[in-house]
Subunit: 308 residues, 4 copies
């Protein structure tokens, strides 16, 4: 029973903070930003996270803010993305995951609202000419639907599109259900194999793709087994029991989880369908603002595929 | 923290079986049928279920059987439905729930595959004439989307359509995650207020609608709070602790659940989107076979809306 | 071969203007407003339109305006809707048509973005209390899918919801393809039987529902037969031919149309899927602004179901 | 105003049959098969079709046959596909077109029902082992949505997946509306640049991809301009008019078409949404049967993604 999280900020909280990890926290109104840097191989191993920067934005009502606060979040997200993205050259946005599985559909949904411009350069009028950064995008699907490893497909596309960087969007798994649809993680390390909601991910990073890979993710689920085990741990801590009793209790939990088929189960908000749509739009807005600094928000909306 | 199940078979298992409840179990290959009868007001109160018959079909791989076994299940379901449905007169099928929320979309998805015939009587060719039973259908939506109580809407429609009976389809909540998408409950009691995945349901029954109401449901979620509490109970049972320690442990669990926002969280299979589609088709097939005994399965498929 | 249009402004242009019809045209930038009043039974018969007011907004790029112009159109639409809607009392918005048929899906798509408030009165915070007008909504589906006449269903719902007025949204058929997704018609006459894209409509009007019925529609198709016949007429006009030759030519056209199965064919823009989505949002915005005059646009967006 | 068809059988009917084209017709009940072979460069130029074989299946009610006739069509389609496909080696199925545009969504819809097996080889049980042919699939999307040429993307994927052949599925444009959703064309020439519903297609053929490319297509639209012009031609033929009058009439038609914006308009059946779904399933069934000759139809259904 593997217990895991895709959030560096959670990994770090779990470990007695090892050498080689730095962490800073900032607040902008209700929005909380945490910058975690994993700096050594040792730290990477301890946290099960690759060496690099992990920036986390957290807002308890991320999907349900009013207009002004929403704009604030979009601007913060755009700034965070720009900080880890090469300033020039074309960008390939990769929407990971399975569009037919709600909790795994974030990547393909964000892609639907990303402003795709790479093919527009001739078509657009004079007033836009020279102001558009080239962006292309693909939602490669998952192994079970394509029969191909995502990494294989993305490699093939990168070789032909030759972008300056890849930005990959994916749904994440977290440990705490309070993280679901409230937290955005941006990292310059790319995608770590085996992470994500669908367990489907092959590694997408500078080593496999040959260009910088930025990953943007939002937790959509907590594995039911994680919640059960965490709850139990918390309770046992306060009890006066021998090590053997403790082990027996944990084993009992694992057995119950297995018997109920909980290993395949996830915990999600009942309204996950609506939340994933709202969060996808938020991320697309932040990404568009980050990638098209010479456009206004109004111009972005006018040009973007789904209209205002 | 209300702990509940929509399955009579689970309610019964929880209670030290009270007077006024009878239960029988049959097997047909891997398919398990349980008939629970709630016969007295006392029993109804103890089980939190209305007086009436609850027939449960259970198959551990309900959504993933091979062709022959699938036909077996469809035929069993058709028989169960026929047993509680008036043999003559038009039927109104009501697909309850929220089509935009995967775990609550069973009702509207079943409706998409139900053979609607009430308007066909003139249009169909000679060879069908006289063999079609009149079926109409509606997916009224939920309070949050329509602003109207479902029961109000269905009442208005029943008054105009004047069916001999209503068959309501809905997604259920269960206690055991092993029930999700493996169990079909058919009951002649109608829909009990406040049950279902969306917590949205007003009562639909003979008293409110004036005609018999049959309800067909499949568990799609277990509330996360239920799983946590059940797991804890099981473990505490084996521990040697005072009543006070026990109460403290349970309170600690409740507090953790509340703090994490788990009350709004549900446990579902990761592939819920695919499962709900498969189960919806299965139920629609069983329902069509039950309501159109003078048609062959081939004719049903040929006439049904989505084609083979 | 019935040749028809759902737009009063086209009916009027076809007829040598009869007594009992008045028409005025206004311009606000590129937006053209035409007010047609059908005032006598004679005129109603000549135009095949019921007695009442028909207000048409036309913009050649209705679905593709920039932010400022879009707001202008929304405000104009809101004003036009308010002019024909009772100022107080609850409103039932009815989204007509078939959600599974792109060209007929306008009604149900608009409904998805209408701010539904009838059930909110207790839930909302103090700052909204007293400022919300009660709005409920339903997408009843079409005869082929429900087995019931739409009018029957809506009658049943009106009897229970008891709104002060009904606003019905529907996709229209026009004569000129340049009208598709560029024209919004608002009328206080309700829905005329047999009109619309799906040919499915029963009459929804004050007589059948007992309350005022406002209809809002946008042409989504032109029947292919109409285009063929119009094109031929135009050409024949310039030719020096006998009446018999003229009739022969028209008959030849009709025969060709029939032989090709063109009677069932519609002419639509290739990108109809995208256009219907954009126009639906536009209408929902105008409708929300008309029905909630005590809310700002920002508040409307914050409260509305699909979020910003 | 380019007048074109993607069907070789229509191209051939238009031209006074040139040298280098052979054509045979067969009947199996109501199903009509036409085999057109384009054998010389001259013929290719005259027909605007590449050198190769074009097999056309036509059934006037292709999307609405009863169970037995449907199986007949599936078997015929499977045989036709096998005749032009390498008998061994992995296959990459490419679903072309825009999934968000109904008339252009055939490719991605077929892909949803294709049995993807390339990744299954280890997972499947013993009884399947050795009987599955490896099939992978991708729906690359269109230029306007990805910013990349489809051919570029498919090239990249082919280089990594290294299939023995590519089978590309696409929506076609025809000249006669009676061809829409009644005709399937299978060709060993691949995809010709600029054809298809979306006008988006880059060439996919043995030359660009390095492996055999089979294309399967079904007409979904006729361009409105084509219908108008054809109708006019037909009529003018019978009139006694000078060449100048003839030219004037045609010019008048072109002007009218342009003025109405008909160039961007398509003629389609009103129920195109339903038809494309039915035809997509039919093609997927035929394709699965062709590619998995060692599986029964029942096994194919059991394994295929969307279930029975």
């Amino acid at each position: 029973m593997q217990i895991r999280t895709d959030l560096a900020v959670e990994s770090q909280a779990l470990s007695p903070s090892p050498k080689g990890v730095t962490s800073r926290r900032y607040y902008r109104g209700t929005l909380e930003e945490t910058d975690v840097k994993v700096e050594t191989e040792e730290a990477a191993k301890a946290l099960e996270k690759d060496i690099g920067a992990y920036i986390t934005l957290y807002h308890p009502a991320l999907a349900h803010t009013e207009a002004e606060e929403r704009k604030e979040i979009i601007r913060s997200l755009a700034r965070v993305i720009r900080d880890v993205t090469p300033p020039e050259g074309e960008i390939l946005v990769v929407g990971l995951g399975n569009r037919h599985m709600t909790a795994d559909s974030l990547g393909s949904r964000v892609l639907e609202d990303v402003l795709i411009t790479r093919h527009m350069k001739e078509a657009v009028g004079d007033e836009l000419k020279g102001r558009l950064r080239g962006v292309c995008g693909v939602a490669p699907g998952v192994l079970g639907i394509t029969g191909m490893e995502t990494a294989e497909m993305v490699q093939g596309i990168v070789e032909h599109a030759r972008p300056a960087a890849v930005i990959a969007i994916d749904a994440l798994a977290a440990r705490e259900s309070s993280r679901i649809c409230t937290t955005i993680q941006v990292t310059d390390t790319g995608i770590r194999p085996g992470s994500g909601v669908g367990n489907h991910r092959a590694g997408l990073n500078r080593k496999t793709l040959g260009v910088p890979v930025i990953a943007i993710g939002v937790p959509m689920v907590v594995y039911a087994a994680v919640i059960a085990r965490d709850a139990l741990s918390l309770l046992l801590r306060d009890m006066d029991m021998s090590e053997q009793e403790h082990r027996q209790a944990m084993d009992g939990m694992v057995e119950k989880i297995t018997r109920q088929g909980l290993g395949e189960m996830v915990v999600t908000p009942r309204e996950i369908d609506e939340l994933v749509g709202r969060v996808a739009r938020l991320i697309a807005d932040g990404l568009n603002l980050a990638l098209q600094p010479r456009l206004s928000l109004d111009e972005i909306q006018y040009l973007s595929h789904d209209g205002p």
